[in-house]
Symmetry: C2
């Protein structure tokens, strides 16, 4: 295979890290172009605005290596200036409460991805852990219209199947599932059935493939060969334009954060999410994907596993860039 140029586009479609200098440097040194960073899960409106202020401080503190991207042109400029572009996302609609006008208020502050739901039902739609999925609600439709108008990506990760199908149909702009894998690879509540993937791609929607162990065949023991094999099967199913990586790396957090992600403040009991052995800890990551820089290594592995370099380059970044370009 040819030597891969340094000057490539590497975009991670979702990370939720407790960011510090080391992590930013790890991404920067590997030449990561952009990262969609999760800001909040269960946080309410006020807490979410505060998280944005927290990030604005991070941008100042690490301005030599990271920058906030509000437009895809900002990603392009960041690359030119040798900085990692950070794109804001919410993994829930909790921050907008019942107020559609908050969508624009968060958009102005830089929010570019928002999930309709996080595991549980919200006033917008059904969550993947609910026994019954309402599909997209009346408020959900109103919010999707508003997101479409503004150029904020509708993210269906953690949504129920009917909600995914409804949103794919209803949204006037293509939607994303920023971090999940196909159920044909590993049958888990968070992964996506092939019929949904086909509908998604048919409407130019996007899936970011996840490295979160509960989404992987054999969890943290998943082999990169198997992951690459899944990518090839997925390309056969939906083509090679609508696929990227959304690693779902959750780094530098204590274990109580994974329990908080699962439980928020919605239950007084304990919910273990997809951990079948009721593990209250972060699951062990695959050795070949444990830090932001591993996106570049995955590119190499993909090529070694007989994915054409041209296609692999699309999947590690170009596709995400083109998808985002049509939204903001």
């Amino acid at each position: 295979m040819s030597k891969i140029s340094e000057d490539i586009i590497l975009i991670d479609g979702l990370e939720y890290c407790n960011w510090n200098r080391d992590l930013f440097e790890n991404a920067h040194k590997a030449g990561i172009t952009a990262i969609h960073a999760t800001l909040v899960y269960w946080e309410n409106t006020e807490e979410s605005f505060k998280k944005i202020e927290y990030w604005n401080d991070l941008f100042k503190e690490h301005q030599d290596i990271i920058t906030h991207a509000k437009k895809t042109d900002d990603i392009f400029q960041a690359k030119k200036n040798n900085k990692v572009a950070i794109i804001f996302g919410f993994q829930n609609s909790a921050p907008i409460a019942n107020d559609i006008f908050l969508v624009e208020k968060f958009f102005v502050k830089g929010l570019r991805f928002m999930q309709l739901t996080y595991n549980n039902q919200t006033s917008l739609g059904g969550g993947c852990f609910e026994p019954k999925d309402s599909g997209v609600s009346r408020f959900g439709k109103a919010v999707i219209e508003e997101m479409n108008r503004l150029g904020m990506i509708v993210d269906l990760s953690h949504a129920g199947k009917q909600t995914c199908i409804d949103a794919i149909e209803f949204s006037s702009k293509p939607v994303a599932i920023s971090h999940a894998n196909p159920t044909f690879f590993h049958k888990s509540i968070r992964n996506i059935d092939s019929d949904v993937l086909k509908k998604l791609a048919k409407k130019d929607g996007f899936i970011g493939l996840s490295l979160y162990p509960y989404h992987l065949k054999n969890l943290g023991d998943c082999k990169v060969e198997d992951f690459c094999s899944m990518i090839k099967d997925l390309i056969n199913l939906i083509g090679d334009e609508n696929i990227g990586i959304g690693s779902d790396l959750c780094l530098n957090w204590p274990d109580d954060v994974v329990m908080w992600m699962r439980n928020g403040k919605w239950t007084k009991k304990i919910d273990y999410g997809e951990s079948k052995d009721k593990n209250p800890k972060w699951p062990e990551l695959p050795k070949w994907y444990s830090k932001p820089s591993d996106l570049r290594n995955l590119l190499t592995s993909m090529c070694e596993n007989n994915i054409a370099e041209k296609v692999a380059l699309k999947i590690v970044g170009e596709n995400w860039f083109n998808f985002m370009k049509n939204q903001f």
Copy 2:
């Protein structure tokens, strides 16, 4: 018929008024024992706590004629002291956002009724205006358990049919539909099908009959004879223990409040609720039920319309009192 004693129990299971001295005096002079007063619809947590403070000021200002009831014994004491007891309720779960711990925080401040939904889907369940009703969600079940534990009445007014059925089944304490009518009387989105009413009563649940024009046969032109005839049919269907009045009187508000009730901040378009002619005004009330004191007049009308006085007395207050007594 015998002369009805002054010393009877008159409870209105729901009013949403812009309360002032005149309205309180109207209720007081008629000897209204207690009123379940709606505090909020779409308001968020902070706004809802503020509304409680606003009411605490009202209690001080009008302490000669009204008092806050947190226990049914407070209703009893209020009656002895010749005051109208006010019971707090929320017509939505918006105030608790995603935080189950807020249920107790509001309970401590006196909240005794909370609806799971208001027309639209919430994170707790489906609303009656949604094309698809999720039923009670995971968070909804957790909140119902918490309300049961505390002694806060689960109110299913404005919920979808499946959500009503799920909550009736799931709740360990009887639930209420504080203000609605049977669909056999008037087929409207907000009214309740007979199969649900039967399930409700079978589990000792409660319905407060509504005087809101969109819930009435012939709207504001509804005759009191027809209303009483409906009551008799309902008694035949579910017995006479589980029925009360929840007038849904909404007095002294400008017209923009009815539009706010329908639209909150959830849509940028206009939703007219059940107004088929897209009327942006408050609907005209039946002449025989336009103020809090009319509850006493309804008692007279019921007796005139061949409802036994003993039964009529249950319906205008005793039943509500007994229902509440088992909760708080």
